[in-house]
């Protein structure tokens, strides 16, 4: 069994508390991505699972065992570092074999494992080379090879694709997916890139300032963000958050005379309440002015070929909220008001003070 259990973990560096009570149960064979902005503590959390950082309070268990006081080498895990951390003076083969050598495995066993990993990662031709003779993508694969040969219970990835160029990143993402399909090893993966998170994860842990914002499958996090932070973090451009108020006895939402939308179902309990209206830019469409739910004053437009990204402000004299819309046509107008509507089922409501989602 290689489930990982993070139980109410706290971490402080001196007086600064960087991880504040995170809990998550990761199932055997699951690919979990820990995502969040720089400094949110995701790498620290990963390193605590690895054993490279101590745990201030709380428990981390791998399988059935609590590993708080175990050295990394005793946890049956393997890690792929952001900067690959390959031993510069050793060949690719020796890099991959090093950990096995220390474990004292027989040479035949080591050779077999290295060969298998090299084949999976298409490194068989490169075994004799030194790291400095390899490209970034090749080095990354060697780092993965080093992890694979150990046949660990858990893989830990610390922003492994950050140092690759965009095209290579896309390619490596699909290779990572294929790898996981093949090996089915429990994986913890840290990234700040929400696209990586969305494409690779079975489930995501969205973090902010050391706290859990939301845990869920990618589509769930996308379609039902638990907080404004998650709403704004996932999706590009981020979800629009427009201040407004529930009116008409809970049937509609209005703001500054500029927004008028009907709720998908009447919510009398919310009547009169200030809320944040959340709508993703991709859920807008252009309509007739009298059918418009909101009409932003255009600031500028980015034409992407297939789509147009329209950026504008609501309110008179652009004094209202800023917003963005992704439309599937080429927008010809360059200024003025653009009448937009959206399907009410794509409406999200958040409490302006707590940032939390208002449930249906």
């Amino acid at each position: 069994m290689s489930a990982v259990s993070i139980r109410n973990v706290f971490k402080s560096f001196g007086a600064v508390q960087v991880i504040q009570g995170i809990s998550m149960d990761i199932k055997d064979g699951e690919f979990v991505v820990m995502v969040g902005p720089s400094g949110c503590g995701k790498s620290t959390l990963l390193r605590m699972v690895a054993g490279l950082e101590t745990i201030t309070t709380g428990e981390i268990a791998i399988g059935e065992r609590v590993v708080n006081n175990l050295e990394p080498k005793d946890r049956d895990i393997a890690m792929v570092f952001q900067n690959y951390a390959l031993y510069p003076h050793m060949s690719v083969r020796d890099n991959m074999a090093y950990g096995l050598k220390i474990q004292g495995r027989p040479k035949t066993d080591i050779d077999a494992r290295v060969q298998r990993a090299a084949e999976i990662l298409e490194l068989a031709q490169l075994l004799k080379r030194r790291p400095r003779e390899l490209s970034g993508g090749q080095r990354q694969r060697v780092a993965m090879g080093r992890a694979i040969v150990r046949e660990p219970r858990v893989f830990l990835f610390d922003e492994p694709l950050s140092n690759l160029d965009a095209k290579l990143r896309v390619q490596m993402r699909s290779e990572l997916q294929a790898l996981h399909q093949r090996l089915m090893t429990t994986t913890l993966y840290v990234t700040h890139d929400q696209v990586e998170a969305m494409t690779l994860a079975h489930r995501m842990l969205v973090m902010n300032a050391g706290k859990t914002e939301q845990i869920g499958a990618p589509l769930e996090v996308y379609s039902k963000p638990a907080t404004t932070f998650v709403a704004a973090f996932i999706g590009s451009p981020p979800m629009n958050l427009i201040p407004g108020r529930i009116t008409e006895g809970g049937k509609a939402l209005a703001s500054d005379g500029d927004v008028h939308a009907r709720l998908p179902e009447a919510r009398p309990a919310l009547d009169g309440r200030n809320v944040l209206l959340g709508v993703r830019p991709e859920h807008f469409e252009i309509c007739e002015p009298d059918a418009a739910m909101l009409s932003p004053d255009i600031d500028f437009i980015e034409l992407l070929g297939s789509d147009s990204l329209v950026y504008g402000h609501l309110g008179a004299d652009k004094a209202g909220a800023r917003m963005a819309a992704r439309l599937h046509t080429s927008v010809v107008a360059k200024e003025g008001r653009l009448p937009l509507r959206f399907d009410p089922q794509y409406m999200h409501l958040f409490d302006p003070e707590t940032g939390k989602r208002i449930e249906e």
């Binding site: 490279l52 895990i77 890690m79 570092f81 900067n83 951390a85 031993y87 003076h89 950990g99 220390i102």
Partner: protein, 282 residues
Amino acid sequence: MVERRPVLTFLAHAVLVLGALIVAFPIYVTFVASTLTVEEIMSVPMPLLPGGHLIENYKQVLFAGTTTGSRAAVDRMLLNSLVMALVVPIGKMSISILSAFAIVYFRFPLRNFFFWMIFVTLMLPVEVRIIPTFQVIAGLGMLNTFAGLTLPLIASATATFLFRQFFMTIPDELAEAARMDGAGPMRFFWDVVVPLSKTSMAALFVIQFIYGWNQYLWPLLITTDETMYTAVIGIKRMIVGGDAANEWNLIMATAMLTMLPPALVVLLMQKWFVKGLVETEK
């Protein structure tokens, strides 16, 4: 050089050639003197072209010594110099790489204290503490021994600093990867740190070899037995008076022999030599 100014380039070459000549001139004269007889040298001015006595002068000096001043044979002295020139760098590097590793990769109480203790040794060269060091060596019964010649010179911290500075540039992730691979600190040291330090060690070796070979004051103090003289001391001991009555041809032959090994090391390992100089002083 931004513009092409032939005059300045010519001037630059002229200055450099002049500099090279001034630098090379004493060596050349020494070489010539080592191939002449005493009488030829005494006849003023000394001839400036090499004479015909090269082999016999060197043979005599190597195996028989001079007839004035000390009479020690130079071959033994060269050997002693070689021992110093090898033991000092190797000894220094061995203890320094270990303590640098400890200071950089471990956190332990008294770490800063040890660091400063070692650092302080950089400030006081052996010349400042000669008398008491002499007494310590005498007290330990190490006069006229190789141990006495080399141990006090191993005490300085230049190597520790070089290694420390280098270790700081080793990425943290390398140590973490090694830890994940199951390597303990000493394993990491042998398998990763030492191989990566090879260039620093080469650079240090060149500088310390020269330092050990050219030591003067310290061997002067603690060797009274002629068989323990180093080559540099040997030369001084061959000179009796300031001017004449010295077998200059033999003295110069000894000087050539004494200058040869360090010069070879500098020439053959020039790259590491330059690196070693520039980095030890940072």
